[in-house]
Symmetry: C2
Subunit: 227 residues, 2 copies
Amino acid sequence: MADRKAKDALFGAFASVAKALGNGHRAEIVDVLAQGERSVENLADEISQSVANTSHHLHVLADVGLLQTRRSGTRVYYRLASERVGELWGALRDVAVEHVAEIEVLAEGYLGDRDGVEQISAEELAARVAKGRVVLLDVRPFDEYAAGHIAGARSTPLNDLPRLAASLPRSREIVAYCRGPYCVYADDAVRLLRKRGLRARRLDIGYPEWSRANLPTEAGPQVVRSS
Amino acid sequence: MADRKAKDALFGAFASVAKALGNGHRAEIVDVLAQGERSVENLADEISQSVANTSHHLHVLADVGLLQTRRSGTRVYYRLASERVGELWGALRDVAVEHVAEIEVLAEGYLGDRDGVEQISAEELAARVAKGRVVLLDVRPFDEYAAGHIAGARSTPLNDLPRLAASLPRSREIVAYCRGPYCVYADDAVRLLRKRGLRARRLDIGYPEWSRANLPTEAGPQVVRSS
DNA sequence: GGTCTATTCAAGTGATACTTTGAATAGCCG
DNA sequence: CGGCTATTCAAAGTATCACTTGAATAGACC
């Protein structure tokens, strides 16, 4: 084949995208950015890295085109370059969960024992929300809620949950959701609510997956901020 | 956060899948295996690498769980661990095409000038096949055709095409397809047919994408082998 | 000018990735 | 069993890259 070199170059370019995602910190960055844009400092804090190092990783992702930036005053905000990048991240995570043996163990190590954290599927939740049978709590930080949330959800950041738990109805089931299937927030929320005797489950996916499935969403602080 | 280490480990495991795909040769291997299982020797030949090196790369992919093997006599056959791996590869390629700037150039370098290689979308083809308006040619190697092909397609490996071109009808449009949107076979076929004055276009995707879209397929050499 | 944020640079650290070679293994065939 | 083939393994060679840190710089705002 005369064009072996050209073929290698083309597939090398395809592989460059995978290479950019092939680092734990960068994977985490993409996971966070799937919730919405973030400043460098904010991201650095989220992934527990120095600003310089975070900036470096952001450039690796931006150089292959996975991220875009916006400047506002002294801050630079990064976001996923398109919806498809979020889909790719989701596909990558799903394949990892299905095929990487140790993930089950690592997930339990991070999320804790999931006995007692019952899950509810997106289909079932969608049906129940439509019938008004469920109190739906978005337990992510408020900014992420404001950037977009499941239709009908109420913002209840994890910090505020202990205070607000008393006001939740005992007669209806409570469902909590957060960033994704491997985010701790909803698990923690469910454990807290159950300890107080409330009926609570967590959605088995997060907001980005819900949104990508074209299920109903809203944006902006339309529901009263819990503060 | 007390569980920073656990979180790093979990996301590191997610990233390990991307790392495995982060090499041109391995990306090419996955692309080939999306057509069906292959022996090591066969793959080595396809990607123009030594058997030992190919075996090494196969193990990298198999170690993270992306591939599975089957032994038959003295040969070992590798295949994608699941349909989802093929989807992941497709998502990766799509994101690369959309966001990696140089891919357009590299693709032209490999596929050649695509003026004169008109494309047809899957939707349009599906409609036309249903109405019998199209002669559909699978220009991949026969084994891949036998493993699965678009319903109604005829196997016409590129090598055999010059000989068979004369028997193709001038009254109907001819559509060729192959392994994927960045496979040369269909482009070469269209150029050859056009040179002979036939009306030919290429499908803008390949068999794996068609199959994943749940469009009609068949398996086995049901249509007479062109040989 | 002073402050804040982000980027860049230089440097250290450590290691990893890819390929080739030659030998070893495992199964087939006569 | 002995010879054959296909694949794997181990080791070595090669090259280079990846990640992190701390300090310097640049740009924007007040």
